[in-house]
Symmetry: D2
Subunit: 392 residues, 4 copies
C-alpha cells in the first residue's frame, strides 16, 4: 500500500512506469532515511507530538531497519514504490498507531531531500578523500621520476622540452584546484530541508534547529519553495564538481594512451592492467584508460539530464524531479571508482627513461636558440625569423 493510497488502486502498467527502478536505487538511501526519521521522531517528541516512549520505540525500530539493511535483509517491494513507504510500512507493522505518527509534520518531499543530502554528503567526502590520495600518489610518482626529460607537445606535435615531473604535477595541481569546487557543492547542499514538507511548510510549530543539528547540517534551508526549487539545481553543482574531476582523468588517460603507445613508449602499463583481443594474440590494450576517458562523457550527459529536467517547470514539486536521483548516484559511482582506478594505475605505471631520452630531438630546442639570439641583443621577432629561416 502506498503512502497516498485512498481506495482506487493504481493501474498496474502505470505503477510499473512510475515506480521505475526506484526500489533498486533506494537501497542506498535506507540508512539515511532511517537516520533522518530518528531525528524527526526526536523532534516530534520535543514539540509534544509524540511521547518520549513513542519516539524511543520508533528510534529502536529504525535502528533495526539499518541493521537489517546492513545484512541485505530489508527489501522494498515494487508496490511500495520507494524506501520511504517500505520504512513507514515496517514501523506501522511493528508499532501500530505509533508507526502511523512518524509522517506527522513532514512530506515525502522533504523526507527524500533530507535522505539524499545525507547520502550526497557522505559520497562527496569520499570523492574528496580519493582526490587527496590522488595528489599524494601522483606527487610521489613525479618525485620518483623528477630527472626525466621528455617532449612537450602542442597541436599533437613536438613543441619544447618538458619533464615527467612537470607533466605529473600538472594533474596534482589540477586535482587540488578541484577541492574548492567540491567544497562549494558540499556547502551548497549542507542545508537542512527537513520541515519544509511539500514545499509550503506545515501548519505546526517545528523545531527545525533541532533536526538540523541532530543531522549535522550546517544551516537550515528556510524557504520551502526554494527548497523545492533546489531539486536538480543543487545536484547539478555536485555533478559540475565531479565532472571537473573526471575531465582531469579524461585528459590524463588521453596522455597515457598515446604516450604508452609503443611508437612513443614514454610510459609502460604492466600486463596485469591490460586486456587483450579475441582475435589478435599480440595485443595489450589499455581498456582501463579508455573507459576512464569515456566515462567523462557519460557523467557529462548525466549532468545535462539534471540541468534540463527541471527547466521550464513552474515552482513546486513535479514528478519529473524524481528522475534527478539516478544520475547523481550513477555519477558518484563512476567518479569514485574512476579515482580509485587511476590511483591504482599510478602505483603500477612505469616510465621508460631510454625512450624519453631518444625522443628529445633537435626541433624541441628551436625556441631555446631564439632566446640565445635574444640574449645577444637581437629583437625577439627577428630572432624568431632567423631561426625559422635556418630550419627551412
Amino acid at each position: 500500500m502506498k503512502l497516498w493510497e485512498k481506495g482506487t488502486p493504481l493501474n498496474k502498467q502505470i505503477e510499473a512506469y512510475t515506480v521505475g527502478n526506484d526500489t533498486i536505487l533506494d537501497q542506498a538511501l535506507i540508512k539515511y532515511d532511517c537516520l533522518a526519521s530518528i531525528a524527526h521522531a526526536k523532534m516530534l517528541a520535543k514539540i509534544d507530538i509524540l511521547t518520549e516512549d513513542e519516539a524511543a520505540a520508533l528510534e529502536k525500530e529504525l535502528h533495526n531497519i539499518i541493521e537489517l539493511d546492513t545484512k541485505g535483509k530489508f527489501t522494498i517491494r515494487p508496490e511500495q514504490e520507494d524506501c520511504h513507504t517500505a520504512i513507514e510500512a515496517y514501523l506501522v507493522g511493528k508499532l501500530g498507531d505509533t508507526g502511523k505518527k512518524i509522517h506527522t509534520a513532514r512530506s515525502r518531499n522533504d523526507q527524500v531531500l533530507t535522505a539524499l543530502r545525507l547520502y550526497y554528503k557522505t559520497q562527496l567526502a569520499d570523492t574528496k578523500d580519493l582526490a587527496t590520495e590522488f595528489g599524494k600518489i601522483v606527487e610521489a610518482f613525479a618525485k620518483k621520476h623528477e630527472n626525466i626529460i621528455f617532449p612537450g607537445y602542442t597541436h599533437t606535435r613536438k613543441a619544447m622540452p618538458s619533464s615527467v615531473a612537470m607533466w605529473a604535477n600538472a594533474f596534482v595541481d589540477a586535482m587540488q584546484d578541484n577541492q574548492p569546487l567540491l567544497n562549494a557543492a558540499y556547502n551548497l547542499i549542507d542545508q537542512s530541508p527537513l520541515g519544509t514538507a511539500a514545499g509550503y511548510g506545515v501548519p505546526l510549530e517545528l523545531d527545525r534547529e533541532f533536526t538540523k543539528t541532530e543531522l549535522g547540517f550546517s544551516r537550515i534551508q528556510h524557504n520551502p519553495i526554494y527548497t523545492q526549487l533546489s531539486r536538480g539545481k543543487f545536484e547539478s553543482s555536485i555533478l559540475h564538481a565531479l565532472s571537473q574531476v573526471m575531465v582531469d582523468l579524461n585528459r590524463l588517460a588521453s596522455d597515457l594512451i598515446l604516450f604508452s603507445l609503443p611508437d612513443f613508449g614514454y610510459f609502460e602499463l604492466p600486463a596485469e592492467l591490460c586486456t587483450g583481443s579475441s582475435i589478435m594474440p599480440q595485443k595489450k590494450n589499455p581498456d582501463v584508460l579508455e573507459l576512464l576517458r569515456a566515462n567523462y562523457h557519460v557523467i557529462n550527459s548525466l549532468e545535462m539530464q539534471l540541468k534540463t529536467i527541471p527547466a521550464n517547470l513552474i515552482s513546486g514539486y513535479h514528478r519529473d524531479l524524481q528522475l534527478t536521483k539516478e544520475p547523481v548516484m550513477r555519477t558518484f559511482e563512476i567518479t569514485n571508482s574512476s579515482l580509485s582506478i587511476i590511483n591504482l594505475v599510478f602505483e603500477k605505471l612505469q616510465v621508460n627513461e631510454a625512450n624519453c631520452a631518444t625522443a628529445m630531438t633537435d626541433e624541441l630546442y628551436a625556441t631555446q636558440k631564439v632566446y640565445e639570439l635574444v640574449e645577444k641583443g637581437m629583437p625577439f621577432r627577428d630572432a624568431y625569423k632567423k631561426v625559422a629561416g635556418d630550419i627551412e
Copy 2:
C-alpha cells in the same frame, strides 16, 4: 577465462571497472549472438573450415543456449566479461575442439556489432508498431470528440478557436512523420557487419553474402574500417528517431498536464491513472504524464552520450565504444514503454465538454472580427488596428 587471456591474470579491480554492468546488459543479447553464431558456423562449413557435422553440433548447442536463456537459466559470470565469452565457453565445454573453432574468421568486434544490430532491428520494429497503434488510438479519440471546440493558445495565452480534433490530430500527423525517420535509422543499420573482424578483415575468403542473407540483413557493410566507424554513429541515428517520438510525447504530456488542471478542466484523467501525495489528502497528481515529459530529457542526454563518446578518437575500435551499448538499450526501454503508456492514457482520457465551452471567451474571436472587416474591403493592417483599438 576471457577470450584473450594468455597467462597474466587481470587485476581484480581493473576487471570490475572494465566489465562494468556488461554481464547484466548482455542478457538481452544472448539470443541474437546465438543466431549470429549459427549463421557464422554454417558459413564456416560452406567454406570448408568446419565440417558439416561440426556446424550441426554447434547449431544444436547454440539452440540449447537460446532455450536455456528463455528460461532464465543461462548466466554470464563476471570473470567472463560478456555474453560472447560465456557462449564460447559453453560451446567448448560441450563440444571441445569444435567449440574452439567457432571464433575462426571473426573477432569479438564484428560479433558484437552483429548481435546488436539484430537486437536493434527487433526493438525498432516494436517502436514502429507502437507508433502506428498510437496513430489509431489518437485518431479514434479525435473522431469521438470531433465537435468539441476549445481555445487554441499561443505564448500560453488564449489565441484563436481550436478543437479537440485538430489538437489530437496534430499528434497523429507528428507521429506519422516520425515513421520515415525510424525507417531511415532502420535502413542505415540494416547492413551485415559479420566478416569485418576487428576492423581490418581476416586473411580468409569468407562468404559474407551467405551470412547476410541468413541473418536477414538487406546488404553487406563491406569496408571494415567504416564498420568500426559506425559504432556510436549508427546508434545516434536510432536515438535521433526515438527522440523525435519522445519529443511529441513531451509536448503532448505538457498539454495534458496543463489542460487537465482543474482551473482549465478541458481534459480529465481518471483516478486509476493518478497518484497522490503523502501529506495532502486531496491530491490527484498526473505523475505518469510528468514522467513521460521528463523521460524525453533522459533520452536526450543518452543521445548526447552516444554523440560525444566516439568523438576525437582515431579510426579503429576503442573500448570507449563499449559504453554506447547501454544508452541505446535504455532508450528503447524508455521509448517503447512510454508509447505503451500514452496509448493507455488515451484510451482512458476524458474530455469535459462543458469546461471547453465555458472557456470560449470573446477574445478568441478578435481575429475573426478583423476578417469580417477585410471582407468588407478594409486593408488587413487597418482592420487589425481598428479591432485592436476597440479592445483597448
Copy 3:
C-alpha cells in the same frame, strides 16, 4: 513600427532583449520571404482578396527588394525587429493600401516557417552537393594510393595490416550513408506551412495547393497545430543529419592529425595548409584539422539547444522557438564550410610511402600466423594461444 504595434511603445530595454540579433540573421532570409510573399499575393488574387493589379504591384516591389538585397542595400532597422516587418513596411511605403493587404490570411508564424524552410532546402542541397564532391575527391585519393599498405590500429595500438585505400574508402562509404539521412531531413521539411497562420488557421478559404506548388514544396502540412509543433523538431532532424556529416569529419581529422605527426609520418600536410606558433619557429601546426575536429562539438551543442528549447512547452507558438533559428543557420555555415575545407585538404594531402612501409612491423602479422595454423587444422582458439605464447 512593429506589425503588432497598437499605441503603447515597447520599453527600449525590452526591445533590445527581445529583438536580439534577428536583424542580422534575417538578412539571409529576405530573398526567401519575398519569394513566399509573391506566391502568397498571387494566391490572394486567385481567391479574389487582391485584384490582379494589386498582386502584380506587390510582385514587382518584392522583386525590387530581392534586387536591393543582392546589392546589400535592403536593411532591417532594429525597431523593425525582423525582415518580415521591414518588408511589409517597404511595401506599405511604396504601395499604400495595397501594402497593408499583403498580410491578409497569414500570420508571421507561417510566414517565418515558409521562409525558413525555403532557406533550409537550399542549404541542404548545398550540403548534399559538397558531400557528393567529397566522395569523388576521396575516392580519387584512394585510387591514387591504392597499393600503399600501412598499419591498422585498434585501441590506438597497431593491430593488423590496413591500406590507405581501405582507410580513405571508409570515409567515402560513411559519407554516402549520410545522404539518406540528409534526404530524410529534406523530405520532412518539404511541406508547405503557408496558410496555417498563427497555428489555428484563418477564417477564409485559402488555396494552399496553389502556394505549395508555386513554392516547390512536395506537399502541404495541413494541421496548423502540428505545423507549430514542428518548430525546433524539424530543425533537429536537419541538425542530426548535419552532425552525422560532421562526426565523419571529426574522426577523419583525428586520424590525419595523428598520422601526419612526424613520429608516424604516414600523411603530410603541405605548408600552405599549416599555421605556426608565435614563439616556436619550427612549428607547422594542423590548425585547420583541429578546427574541423572541434566544430563537431560546436554543432552538437547547437543541436542540443534545438532539442531542449521546445521541451516542456504546451502546443502553440512561444517566443522561445525564435531562438531555434540561429543554431540552424550557424550549423549550415559550419558544416558546409567544413566540407569545402576537407575537400581542399584532400586535394593537397600527401602520402609518405616510405614511412608507411617502415611502420609495417612484425606484430601486425600475428593474426595471419594464427590463420596459418588454422589452415593446418588447429582449432582457432588453440592456434591463438600458441601464437600468443610465442610472442611472450
Copy 4:
C-alpha cells in the same frame, strides 16, 4: 602578417576557416591584452630584457591603443587573425625594433589566457552586482506584497496555501546561494598564467610575482602544463555558475508566464513590457519572459560545448581550444542582460490581490484539516485517510 609567418603564405580558404570570427570577438579583449602587455613590458624591463625607455615607449603606445579602442578606432584586419597580432603589428609600426621585443618571454598562449582571465573577472564582477541588485529588488517586491496569500502548487495542481512573499523570497534565497558559486569560479580563474608561454615555460628567469601583482591576480598558476589544461575547464566552472543564475530565471519566468495568464491572473505584466501578434489584435504576449526562459537552454548548450571541446585531447594547446572563447563571451552577454531585464520586470510587475484571494479554494486547506485531527490525537496516517475519505 601573422606572428608566425615564415614565407609560405597560408591558403586563403584555410585562413578564412581558421580565423573565423576572432577578429570580431577580439574587440572585447583589446583593452585587457594591452593592460597585460604593459605589465609584461614593465617586467621585461625589471629583468633587464628591455631598457626602461623601451618599456616606457611600449606602455605609452599600449595606452594609445586602449584610447583608440574606446573610440572604436582600433581595428583588427582578417589577415591579422586576432587582437594580439594587430597590437604587435601596431607596436612594430610605431616603435620598430622595440615593438619586435614585446613578445619576448611569452607565447600567444599565455598572452590569450591572461587577457581572457582579466576580461572574465570584470564580467563576473558585473554578474555578482546584478545578482545582488536582483536580491534587493525582489526582496522589496516581497515586502510590498507581504500580506497576499495565493495558492501553492505541486504537480501543476493546487496544493497548499502559499504567499507572494514566500514565493518571491524563494528566488532571493536562490540567487544568494549563487554567490558562493560565482565566487568559486572567480577564485579558480584568479591565477596569473603569464609566463607559462606555450605550455612549457621559457628558458629565461621571469619575475612572475611582479606581473601577477601588477595585474591584480591573487596567485600565480605555476605549472605551465596545468595552465594549458585549464583552458575550457576553468571556463566551464564560470558557465556552471552562470547557468545556476539562469536556471533560477528560467523557473521564475515559468511561474510568471503561467500566473500572469488571465485564467490565473495572480500577476500582471504592464503593456510596455508586452509584445503583440501580427494577426491577432487582442494579444499581449510575455515574449520577454519566454526569452528569459529559452536563454537558459542556450547557455546550457554553450556550457556543453566547453565541456566537450577539450575532451579526449592530450595535454598541451590545440587549436580546438580557441573555440572555447565565444561560448563564454556569449554566456556573459546573455546572463548579464537577462539579470538586467528581470530586474526591470520586477520593478514593473503588478500583483492582482483580488485574483489571488479568489483562487484560495477549499482543497488548499485539506492538509490543515488533517493537522486539526492530529492535534486532537488521531495518528497522522489515520487523519490523512479520514480527510481523504471525506473529499471523495
